[in-house]
């Protein structure tokens, strides 16, 4: 099942994702940071398509790119972030880079060591449709689903209460 185009598409989207993620954390323009995040999120949606999780890919595009990035842009505008060049990094950035590099080294070493040589077969996931996902959500995972809906309601009320002006 692992055709050459799957691997090619993986490398293409992985490069796009890593480049945009690096720009998100290094660019000096806040609006560009939010827009580069779109590149990473769309790359993640492409990864979900590569793993035959179409429903999740569309949920990713709708919720992340459609809602969360727009919310972030609103947040940047409402807090009057300086558009254009500015100083957004603190003085510990080399320490932070060292910390992140150490984390990446340790986690990737452990993951490669544990799962080296295991190929994804795709035979399990190739026929999964949105219908199957819905069946499992409303049978096996119905309790976490309800808890998530209560959490969303609580977050909605909480955000309105916190950000309200008159008190």
């Amino acid at each position: 099942m692992a055709e050459w185009w799957q691997e090619g598409a993986f490398w293409l989207f992985a490069l796009i994702m890593v480049f945009s993620a690096l720009r998100v954390v290094t660019t000096g323009n806040v609006i560009h940071a939010a827009l580069y995040l779109v590149g990473t999120l769309l790359g993640a949606a492409a990864m979900f398509v590569l793993l035959f999780a179409e429903f999740l890919a569309w949920a990713q595009v709708l919720v992340y790119v459609g809602a969360i990035v727009v919310l972030m842009l609103f947040g940047l505008m409402l807090t009057r972030a300086p558009i254009g060049k500015g100083k957004f990094d603190n003085d510990q950035r080399w320490l932070a880079a060292l910390c992140a590099a150490a984390l990446f080294g340790v986690t990737s070493y452990i993951l490669v060591d544990a799962f080296d040589g295991e190929e994804i077969s795709f035979t399990r996931t190739v026929g999964i449709t949105a219908e199957d996902v819905g069946d499992v959500i409303f049978s096996v995972y119905v309790l976490p689903f309800e808890v998530v809906s209560v959490l969303l309601l609580a977050a909605l009320v909480g955000a309105v209460v916190i950000a309200r002006r008159d008190r």
């Binding site: 799957q6 993986f10 992985a14 890593v18 993620a21 690096l22 954390v25 806040v30 995040l37 990473t40 993640a44 979900f48 793993l51 999780a53 999740l56 949920a59 919720v63 969360i68 972030m72 609103f74 947040g75 409402l78 807090t79 009057r80 972030a81 100083k87 957004f88 990094d89 603190n90 510990q92 320490l95 932070a96 590099a101 984390l103 990446f104 990737s108 993951l111 490669v112 799962f115 040589g117 295991e118 190929e119 994804i120 795709f122 399990r124 996931t125 999964i128 996902v133 499992v136 959500i137 995972y141 976490p144 689903f145 998530v148 959490l151 969303l152 977050a155 909605l156 309105v160 916190i162």
Partner: protein
């Protein structure tokens, strides 16, 4: 295709998110970096579901839950950031030292 490709990619994105959280000064940019980290975890979950899941769906559903929790987190987080901006005219994290011991 080796599963370690997806795992190393998500580890790399997670580490980039950690760098962003540690190095950024603007609170909204820190929230953006947190989104990067949550997103990398989703890739990990879906890859593991494709490889080891009982029917290949469980990991996708947990990724959906993470997306929902991320939406809630952004809503509350931005409300807090806007409240701080309203009170202090700044969202610089280094200046938020009121509760620092």
């Amino acid at each position: 295709m080796p599963i370690s490709y997806f795992l190393v990619l998500s580890a790399l994105l997670f580490s980039i998110g950690v760098y962003g959280v540690l190095a950024r000064q603007n609170a909204v940019l820190v929230l953006l970096s947190i989104e990067l980290m949550l997103n990398s975890v989703n890739i990990n979950l879906v890859a593991f579901a494709a490889q080891f899941g009982e029917n290949g769906v469980g990991g996708q559903i947990f990724a959906l839950f993470i997306i929902a929790v991320a939406a809630a987190e952004v809503g509350v987080g931005l409300a807090i950031v806007i409240l701080i901006f309203r009170n202090r005219q700044s969202v610089d994290i280094d200046e938020m030292s009121l509760m620092k011991w």
